[in-house]
Symmetry: C2
Subunit: 206 residues, 2 copies
Amino acid sequence: MATALKIDLRARKTPVQERAAVTVEAVNEATVQVLLTAGLERMTTTRVAARAGVSVGTLYQYYPNKQALLFAVLEQHLMVLATAVEQACEQARGLTVRGMTEALVRAFIDAKMRNTEVSMSLYAAAAAVDSAALVQRMSRRCQKAVTTMLTTAPDGRFEELDFKVMMLFATMAGTTRMVLEAGASAKMVRMLRAELLAMCLAYLGA
Amino acid sequence: MATALKIDLRARKTPVQERAAVTVEAVNEATVQVLLTAGLERMTTTRVAARAGVSVGTLYQYYPNKQALLFAVLEQHLMVLATAVEQACEQARGLTVRGMTEALVRAFIDAKMRNTEVSMSLYAAAAAVDSAALVQRMSRRCQKAVTTMLTTAPDGRFEELDFKVMMLFATMAGTTRMVLEAGASAKMVRMLRAELLAMCLAYLGA
DNA sequence: ACCTGAACACCGTTCAAGT
DNA sequence: ACCTGAACACCGTTCAAGT
């Protein structure tokens, strides 16, 4: 990796008037749409602006560069995923390890498979953006929720729980991604649900 | 994903004279170097050509576009990985499921961790190139080797073996990537070896 | 405060000219 | 057969001018 210059990914300024808020939301939405219909390759800032119904200059008022744009939509979607996982973890407190794992796997797969096209577009976006830090931040949020949940399990206590949860999370992410990239047919998704659950349960010794 | 235009990724022409072969190899090597030192962001074809000691025009004699260049180095490295996995699988034939799994996990992690910097650079390259097909081709090669190996195990036979092997492979890839992106400290790599093996063994019921 | 769009710098790619 | 590098098209980004 090495020297990759740090690029500012923060939003440039926050909209204060109502119409500006509308503009920013339109730009975000347009980014996802262009990503979906044209692919990362042909997603240009001018095209995004046009799709949003504004000029390029406007886009650059709110985002310092193209990467910041991708970063924003990626963040938005990871946030949804993290929240879904957190909620599932909270609701599953006090259950058995098996019950917890079922809830976790279901929540994760459901969130990722809700819109497969968008999920796949975002893999490309993530790679174009030096998203490692963002992904790690979101992962940690999820992992913390999972760890907290598992410590409330009446059956089973675990050594090196933090690392084990990391392994679980990477496994869910890795296998789900593979199924997505293999086409995500209904049959495969069904098998993924069953096998991923089986793997996680076996790993946790439940 | 949708409409992403198919881009020609094949090499443009094969070198016939000795000096041309040298040129192509220099370009390939320069691509990895620039990727490593400058990052995907600032890897320009002119810079790669300069580093290889040729002009841009020469580069474009052998590769139709920038993506083809990235594709070539990615393919080269995936080939090494696939070969390592295949060899390990062949040597492990006739062992117990446990012995086989140990050999597989060791071969995979060793190959990926041999040069962590290069491995990480290639994640970026893979994302910039629509590498899904290539990765799948290489994955299938590995999975075939693993499947063949596992059918020779004296203990244990498996249902849905193809899908199970796919799960194993995605798990190895996913967890290894996570450790790489988290910094791949010696301690983490050690824990990865232990935990990944444990997970695979548990999943296979060994 | 917010928006516009022509202008600029830079990069991917080509091609006529060379050995 | 192989190489060169100026030229072209296109895209990211800016900024003076507008409401």
